[in-house]
């Protein structure tokens, strides 16, 4: 199929229209996305670099950073394992109900973050289904770290799986079958053949999953209880600092999250290019 190249001239709009459209697009992106991004850094340094760095010299802020990393360190690997399992089951076999299963895996993206947190309160809160059992056994999930982790897992649930399923479907089973025929066992086949083929897609999913895990606000906010130094992640700490009118500190913590976001975007861009190249290679081979 022939697609449009950028050098085409006979079909282009007049220069005036082009400039008008480009100006509109750039202005819109500038006002809506770029300026808010810049604001974060400007506000963080409004009272100078010293004030900026002092913001981090705060026990609660450090605790929040630590908790954010802990949460991501639990949620991301769990969803990674799930994503690999789910995509293996879905891409490598044919069975009835496959598209329904894919829809179920995608479901958490359709659920409001607030509701994602709320459902765990219904299960594990003091008045929840398992509430009295948890109290009797002195286990706290809601308003504690386990609740935050659970809510984070929920909102980042589909990221790895939805990246891997199409990739593995595209790659088919031939290489795995070849490996098995050559005497490899299931584990060897996965480790030596499948994994190298999906590594970029996997990394892509993990990076998106991690960005959301570290940045989630709504779902975590519902189950956290906002106990400073105990159940506050970085985004929750931002909220508290902002509501306490401690704007410099709020934006200072925000800069860390913004840098994380920018880093994610750069990695995403690179990986998209890598995955596209991999797919192209795959097509060349046929």
């Amino acid at each position: 199929m022939k697609t449009r190249s950028n050098s085409q001239t006979s079909l282009d709009e007049s220069k005036a229209v082009q400039y008008l459209l480009i100006t509109t697009a750039v202005l819109f992106l500038g006002i809506m996305l770029v300026v808010p991004l810049i604001t974060i850094f400007v506000e963080a340094f409004r009272k100078g670099a010293e004030a900026y760095f002092t913001s981090f010299n705060d026990e609660y802020v450090l605790q929040a950073i630590k908790l954010t990393f802990i949460t991501a360190a639990i949620a991301v690997p769990l969803n990674l394992v799930f994503g690999v399992c789910a995509s293996w089951a879905i891409a490598k076999y044919s069975f009835f109900g496959k598209s329904f299963l894919i829809t179920l895996i995608d479901l958490p993206f359709a659920v409001s973050p607030v509701i994602s947190g709320f459902v765990y309160i219904l299960l594990f809160g003091a008045q929840g289904w398992f509430g009295s059992w948890l109290i009797e056994n002195d286990v706290q999930i809601i308003f504690a770290v386990p609740g935050i982790v659970l809510a984070t897992i929920f909102v980042t649930f589909p990221f790895v799986a939805r990246e891997l399923i199409p990739l593995m479907q595209e790659q088919g089973n031939d290489e795995e079958q070849a490996a098995l025929l050559l005497g490899a066992n299931g584990f060897q086949t996965f480790w030596k053949v499948t994994l190298p083929n999906i590594k970029w897609g996997l990394l892509y999913g993990v990076i998106l999953c991690n960005a959301r895990a570290m940045g989630e606000f709504g779902a975590v906010s519902v189950v956290s209880g906002h106990i400073q130094g105990v159940t506050n992640t970085m985004p929750l700490q931002v909220e508290i600092l902002y509501n306490e009118y401690n704007f410099v500190a709020a934006f200072a913590v925000s800069t860390l999250l913004a840098i994380l976001a920018l880093l994610t975007l750069v990695l995403k861009y690179i990986l998209e290019w890598k995955v596209a190249r991999e797919l192209k290679k795959l097509k060349n081979e046929e």
Partner: protein
């Protein structure tokens, strides 16, 4: 290794992919499974390999040296399989691809690195890719990839070699070369080989025996000569090259064309290959019909001539003659000529030649 397929029936849902297949593959032969796409030939090959299983709803068994392998793991069947699209491991070098089967063996059976090196080097020589050990699959041509796939399959010293349309994705020249090379290699190694193809020329050229398959059933098993010259039925004739269909009656070894019999049963159908027809003068008494020459194709080893029936211009006849004969008879486009079968053999079920 001898392979037997007994009463094998395979379902995909309600679809019957293989319908009561019985087949014996003799030790050391090269057997071609020939048929159109969707005929079940690949399914049969994959079932021998174990890539498709004999499920509870299916029937029959597959025996390797008289032992049922239907429930055996595919890694334990001693099979070398070559995929149509090679299925080389994209992220491994040619060397590592070939070594894969040796490296995944359990520790106590595994060769030392040195021995693996030696073996792979030898295989690289065998496939004439000595200098390519460190290349990646995407840096190779299609023919080279296919040879690597073959070397990879041979590395584990399989007892049977299974090839699924091995030359299907290659261009004509490479295909012809590889075909000959494969045939020689197979004879040298003496390994039992099964090859799936939809290309009758390929099957006729390389196979010791051909199994013609259509709609999940075996139509004929025989040597290339048998299949080509004594096709068992209409399907086999049609599938193995161009053929002319005539309607008529046989009397005293002579064919009387009678197009009014077109809608009759099979007893009035005659199939004659283009090279078995001769162009004669229009009033030759042995001619079975008169026709006008519409198109002459001079390119190729034979001259191909397309004619239309004189009495019915919508019906065409194909005739192939040698260039020598063509010049001898001074045939021109637009000529009105007679057509005569060179030899009329007896017909079985009204379908053969």
């Amino acid at each position: 290794m001898k392979i037997e397929v007994k009463n094998l029936t395979k379902y995909f849902g309600k679809f019957v992919a293989l319908d009561n297949i019985n087949l014996e593959i003799i030790e050391g032969e090269l057997l071609a499974l020939l048929g159109p796409s969707g005929s079940g030939k690949t399914t049969l090959l994959r079932m021998i390999a174990g890539l498709e299983t004999v499920d509870d709803t299916d029937k029959g068994e597959i025996l390797f040296n008289n032992i049922d392998v239907s429930k055996k793991d595919i890694g334990d069947r001693d099979i070398g399989f070559v995929f149509q699209h090679y299925a080389l491991f994209k992220h491994m070098t040619v060397f590592e691809n070939i070594a894969f089967g040796l490296r995944v063996k359990p520790k106590k059976e595994r060769l030392s690195n040195e021995q693996i090196n030696k073996k792979v080097t030898k295989l690289l020589e065998l496939i004439q890719l000595d200098g390519f050990a460190n290349r990646f699959p995407w840096q190779l041509s299609g023919g080279q990839r296919q040879r690597v796939a073959l070397a990879r399959a041979l590395a584990v010293q399989p007892k049977v070699l299974l090839l699924d349309e091995p030359f299907g994705a290659l261009d004509a020249k490479v295909r012809a070369d590889l075909r000959r090379w494969l045939k020689e290699l197979q004879e040298e190694l003496g390994i039992t080989t099964v090859l799936v193809t939809h290309d009758q020329e390929e099957a006729l050229e390389v196979a010791d025996r051909i199994v013609v398959i259509s709609k999940g059933k075996i139509e004929q098993i025989g040597t290339p000569e048998e299949v080509f010259h004594n096709p068992a039925n209409e399907f086999v004739i049609n599938f193995l090259g161009n053929v002319n269909l005539f309607h008529g009656r046989e009397e005293d070894g002579r064919l009387d064309i009678d197009s009014s019999l077109e809608n009759e049963d099979n007893n009035s159908k005659f199939l004659i290959r283009p090279h078995e027809l001769e162009i004669v003068s229009v009033n030759n008494k042995d001619a079975i019909l008169q026709a006008k020459i519409r198109y002459i194709q001079l390119a190729g080893s034979q001259v191909k001539i397309e004619l239309t029936h004189l009495e019915n211009e919508t019906r065409t006849v194909l005739v192939e003659i040698s260039h020598y004969e063509f010049r001898e008879k001074n045939i021109q486009k637009g000529d009105i000529v007679g057509i005569r079968p060179r030899a009329l053999r007896t017909f079985e079920n009204g379908a053969g030649i």
